[in-house]
């Protein structure tokens, strides 16, 4: 039995963040469907935005769970989230247009079972355990689906498992040259895992502030998004990949500057030191 000692005052309530993250993520992932409607790939970046929505929500869920002290380190929660999320997400991609909704449903079921196992069978006895692990699984599934949609152009299983290859001047369908076939999904997996576990791990402590953590979560998400945008060069048109890259770099720079500003605000004191000027000759 663990006891929660701290009191959270102010900030955005967790329920509000959860609803915003869930809805924002689902809407953004569905906006990648504009690709299919307009027969282009330029709307792929919405997948990355959806992943970042989920990651920002996820950083706060990790905060809620880890404020009880789970004893295994903050990163373990992120690993559990992505580990259960990827399983739900891959099955969900089989459902075509329903994939994002199915990912949420399947991940919630898997997460609830894992939460029950951790809380009751393993006797963790943490009041928010079941709910948090359910949320974490959903976040893992949505962030991975977002990155997959961004890199491959669609969240459909056919889209992530088939690519094209030019052979003797002919373009043929190739399973080996796809998002799944090249195992880019493993890279996305760890990009999302790092982005979800880092924000709370880096900002925890006596001067923890929610807004600083959430900006850092955004910064980590957009940093991962830059990498996904580079990887999408292999699967999408050059224009689409450049649009994704530009948007992620601009948003990353903005969130990074915000995070630095807030870090300076929360630091006990900071000195903007400059190198000592040593004049040579007079």
């Amino acid at each position: 039995m663990t006891v929660k000692i701290e009191v959270i005052a102010g900030g955005i309530p967790h329920d509000q963040l959860m609803i915003a993250g869930l809805v924002g993520s689902l809407v953004c992932i569905y906006l990648t469907y504009l690709n299919a409607m307009t027969n282009s790939f330029v709307f792929s970046f919405f997948g990355g935005l959806g992943a970042v929505c989920a990651l920002i929500w996820g950083s706060n869920t990790i905060k809620v769970l880890c404020s009880y002290g789970i004893g295994t380190g903050v990163p373990s929660a992120g690993m559990l989230a992505l580990g259960s999320g990827v399983i739900a997400m891959l099955l969900a991609t089989r459902y075509g247009i329903w994939a994002p909704i199915m990912a949420v449903v399947l991940a919630a079921i898997i997460g609830a079972i894992l939460g029950y196992l951790a809380n009751n069978v393993l006797m963790m006895k943490i009041p928010v355990m079941i709910r948090s692990i359910t949320e974490m699984a959903v976040i893992g599934a949505l962030s991975l689906m977002g990155f997959s949609a961004m890199a491959a152009g669609s969240f459909d299983f056919a889209a992530i498992s088939t690519g094209t290859q030019t052979f003797l001047g002919m373009t043929v369908t190739s399973y080996g040259n796809s998002y799944m076939g090249l195992t880019i999904i493993a890279v996305s997996f760890f990009l999302a895992a790092i982005a979800i576990q880092h924000p709370f791990n880096a900002t925890l402590g006596p001067s923890w502030k929610q807004d600083r953590m959430l900006w850092l979560a955004g910064e980590c998400g957009f940093l991962s998004m830059i990498t996904v945008a580079v990887m999408s060069l292999a699967f999408l048109s050059l224009n689409a990949a450049l649009v994704s890259l530009g948007i992620s770099i601009i948003l990353w720079a903005y969130t990074y500057s915000q995070y630095i500003t807030l870090s300076k605000r929360d630091a006990a004191s900071w000195l903007d030191s400059k190198p000592i000027v040593e004049p040579e000759g007079h």
């Binding site: 009880y68 380190g73 894992l114 090249l182």
Partner: protein, 279 residues
């Protein structure tokens, strides 16, 4: 202001919860039996459950020290359970995956040895850094004498610490843990690849008989094995709650809970991994 208490971790077993969990696992096995009969897919699910339980059991052997170990105040490797188990398991997976075409025995042996080798190298360099870098001897805080060598421990233990360094028993525990983790992870990878995806994936993708779907099968099996491994390792870590010295630690006695939990978790995740091609 936040003060996070060190979790004590429950002692004993919740029989009702355990019964419910085992019931859920049996229900999943029953559904698989009903849907697939005694086919390779059904045996794959059983193998995934065994592999998951092996991972959950193996994690308990690994000496995890966490932050106190980094300061030389507790024995073990100075990082968290999830990271260590992930490292050993993924190393094992790489060790076994190359041998998938050589049959299940060679693949699983390769995975087990890969995981054990990874942990052996880790444990050795941890001790090199402890002994020659930090200048501390290896002493267990939980046992008076090393159960394997019979060396006394208490004389070498500094006051105010829970022991330090990596005693022989912890070293051996790390290797056994890596062995079991690598074995379980590779078993999951192998059965998913060879018994499920190679058989069913071409049909599920709607690909022609000549299409080469092997890259997708390998990728799917690999990512599912990684996902299952991390889920099982983190559940076992939650069972340990923090640090453990190895097989001589009193916390080691909690393993039955973890074996049940990881077996059930593997059944749930395994049926989903199978459903992607078989339903």
């Amino acid at each position: 202001m936040s003060v996070t208490p060190k979790p004590a971790g429950g002692v004993g077993m919740d029989m009702t919860a355990m019964g419910l969990a085992i019931l859920l696992m049996l229900a999943i096995i029953g559904v698989a039996w009903y849907m697939f009969g005694l086919s390779l897919i059904f045996y794959a699910l059983i193998a995934i459950i065994i592999g998951g339980a092996l991972i959950g059991f193996g994690v308990h052997f690994v000496p995890v020290g966490g932050a106190p170990a980094a300061m030389g105040q507790a024995p073990g490797i100075a990082t968290g359970v999830a990271m260590l188990a992930g490292g050993a398991g993924l190393a094992g997976l790489f060790g076994g995956a190359w041998a998938a075409d050589l049959g299940i025995v060679v693949a699983c042996a390769g995975g087990a040895i890969g995981g054990a080798l990874m942990m052996a190298i880790t444990c050795m360099f941890v001790n090199v850094i402890y002994v020659y870098g930090m200048g501390i001897p290896s002493a267990s805080g939980k046992a008076k004498v090393d159960p394997l060598t019979g060396d006394t421990q208490t004389e070498y233990k500094s006051q105010g610490t829970e022991g330090h360094g990596l005693p022989f028993i912890s070293f051996v525990g790390g290797i056994v843990g890596g062995f079991l983790g690598g074995l379980g992870g590779t078993l999951i990878y192998y059965v998913l690849l060879k018994w499920v995806y190679v058989e069913k994936l071409a049909h599920a993708l709607g690909a022609g008989p000549l299409a080469n779907v092997t890259p997708i099968a390998i990728s799917l099996a690999g990512i599912f094995a990684i996902g299952l491994f991390l889920v099982n390792a983190v559940l076992a870590a939650y069972n340990i709650t923090g640090t453990i010295e190895g097989p001589h630690d009193p916390k080691f006695a909690r393993w039955p809970r973890a074996v049940v939990a990881t077996a059930v978790a593997s059944a749930v995740c395994g049926i989903v991994a199978i459903a992607i091609v078989a339903v």
